[in-house]
């Protein structure tokens, strides 16, 4: 889907819930994956992803197309929601059951446990993420987007609304700090 098609879909999504569902289908995995790489916790990832898409729906009618992918806007919301989660909502779970019909708890639990097992297998990732999470949020954002989301500097600058030079500098300083953390443990 090119930018023009995506712009039309976003426009349509403001009138048609089906079009919004298409956007959701397209970006759910990407946003969930990004949040998971930022927090390395499945439960928090689910909560923050839910909050991100609910916020996106709430603000969809205020969204102005600025020739950048819709995902950039979702990343911005996700970043804010991660910060919000740890600042205000720590421990406060978002219950989708309150909004939707409850599903079989057994199935959900089983699926969750399988996902948890999968996550635990990525030991290197969990170790690296633990160190990244010690950095300031501004460094966490650029490092995760650059090395885990494989985004280009230009894309990161669009997502974070900062100049490319600023992103490079943040990346460099973040890596310097991260190097120290890695050095401590190695």
């Amino acid at each position: 889907m090119d930018l023009k098609e995506e712009r039309d879909l976003v426009r349509k999504a403001k009138k048609d819930p089906q079009a919004f569902s298409e956007l959701y289908e397209k970006y759910y995995s990407q946003i969930f994956g990004y949040i998971l790489k930022r927090v390395a916790n499945l439960e928090i990832s689910q909560d923050v992803t839910s909050e991100t898409f609910l916020k996106a729906l709430k603000n969809l009618w205020q969204f102005r197309w600025q020739n950048v992918p819709f995902s950039s806007w979702l990343y911005i919301i996700a970043n804010n929601e991660i910060v919000n989660y740890f600042r205000k909502q720590k421990g406060k779970k978002i219950s989708l059951e309150k909004i939707t019909e409850p599903m079989s708890a057994d199935n959900i639990e089983m699926e969750f446990m399988e996902a948890q097992e999968k996550l635990e297998k990525h030991k290197d990732f969990l170790k690296a993420q633990e160190k990244i999470s010690k950095l300031d949020t501004k460094y966490q954002e650029v490092i995760v987007l650059r090395f885990f989301e494989k985004k280009q500097i230009k894309e990161i600058s669009e997502i974070l609304g900062k100049k490319e030079g600023t992103i490079k500098s943040l990346l460099h300083r973040g890596m310097e700090k991260l190097k120290d953390y890695f050095f401590e443990t190695l």
């Binding site: 790489k37 609910l54 909004i99 939707t100 599903m103 890596m175």
Partner: protein
């Protein structure tokens, strides 16, 4: 560890590709359920957003007008207050004069003071007043003292900056009216037939002109009020008899000639 090594290390990390389908489905359902109320809310918000600028303008306009009206009202009250502290004006008002009109321009108020109405009415001749002409003359003399005035009040300095008496203007206007009344009477056949040629004119009564303030740009002027019915009366006397000719100045005609009766010999009457 060098930065390049760290970059390489990070790039080589095997990343989790996890998806929890049940969460995705439940969230999808939640979003579909929340879509209509959110859309409605957004529409209401959009209408509100459009109405806000209009509302703000309306509120500003309302306050501007309200403030303006209030400050005008305040200035009028203040000007009246200042004027009432002036002894001359205070005396006129105590003698029955009234404040007819106030206009405010650039921090200055112009106050028109009108002489008492009752005194003017006394000028209308009656047979009784004719019998005691001395009192009648006295009334005229008193009224000539004050024929109205225009006071200028400096609101900022809280003082009456000038008082202009309208007596000369009033006298001129009265004289003009008298001349006109006489001219009409002299041309009237009714007067010619009823009143003896040798009759002398004792008095010509005309109504005292009323004034109002007129605001033109940055200045205020006193102008006479146009009267709907301007009337005059001329008192004639001949051989101890008196007549009154009533004249309509607007229509330029004599309305009636009344015989007022014979004059008794009174010590107070010289003539």
């Amino acid at each position: 560890m060098r930065e390049e090594d760290l970059i390489k290390k990070l790039e080589e990390i095997s990343l989790p590709k996890i998806e929890i389908k049940s969460h995705k489905e439940r969230l999808s359902l939640a979003l579909i359920k929340k879509y209509p109320p959110e859309r409605k809310r957004a529409e209401v918000f959009n209408i509100f957003k459009k109405l806000v600028p209009a509302g703000v303008i309306a509120v500003i306009l309302f306050f501007f007008i309200f403030n303006n009206l209030n400050s005008q009202k305040y200035n009028l009250v203040k000007a009246k207050e200042i004027a009432l502290q002036n002894n001359e004006i205070k005396d006129w008002l105590q003698q029955g004069s009234t404040i007819k009109d106030i206009k405010v321009i650039d921090g200055k108020a112009y106050i028109l003071i009108e002489p008492p109405e009752a005194k003017k009415e006394q000028r209308e001749p009656t047979p009784a007043s004719l019998k005691s002409e001395g009192v009648f003359q006295e009334n005229i003399a008193e009224e000539e003292k004050f024929g109205g005035a225009l006071a200028e009040v400096d609101i900022k300095e809280k003082r009456v900056s000038s008082i202009e008496k309208l007596a000369p203007t009033v006298t001129n206007l009265i004289e003009n009216k008298k001349e006109k009344a006489l001219e009409i009477a002299n041309k009237s056949r009714e007067v010619e037939e009823i009143i003896p040629e040798e009759a002398e004119i004792l008095d010509i009564n005309v109504s005292t002109p009323k004034f109002r303030l007129s605001k033109e740009g940055d200045s205020v002027s006193v102008i006479p009020e146009t009267e709907t019915e301007e009337k005059a009366s001329i008192i004639y006397q001949s051989d101890g008899n008196r007549w009154e000719g009533k004249i309509n100045l607007n229509e330029e005609r004599v309305e009636k000639v009344n015989f007022l009766g014979e004059i008794q010999n009174d010590a107070t009457i010289d003539k």
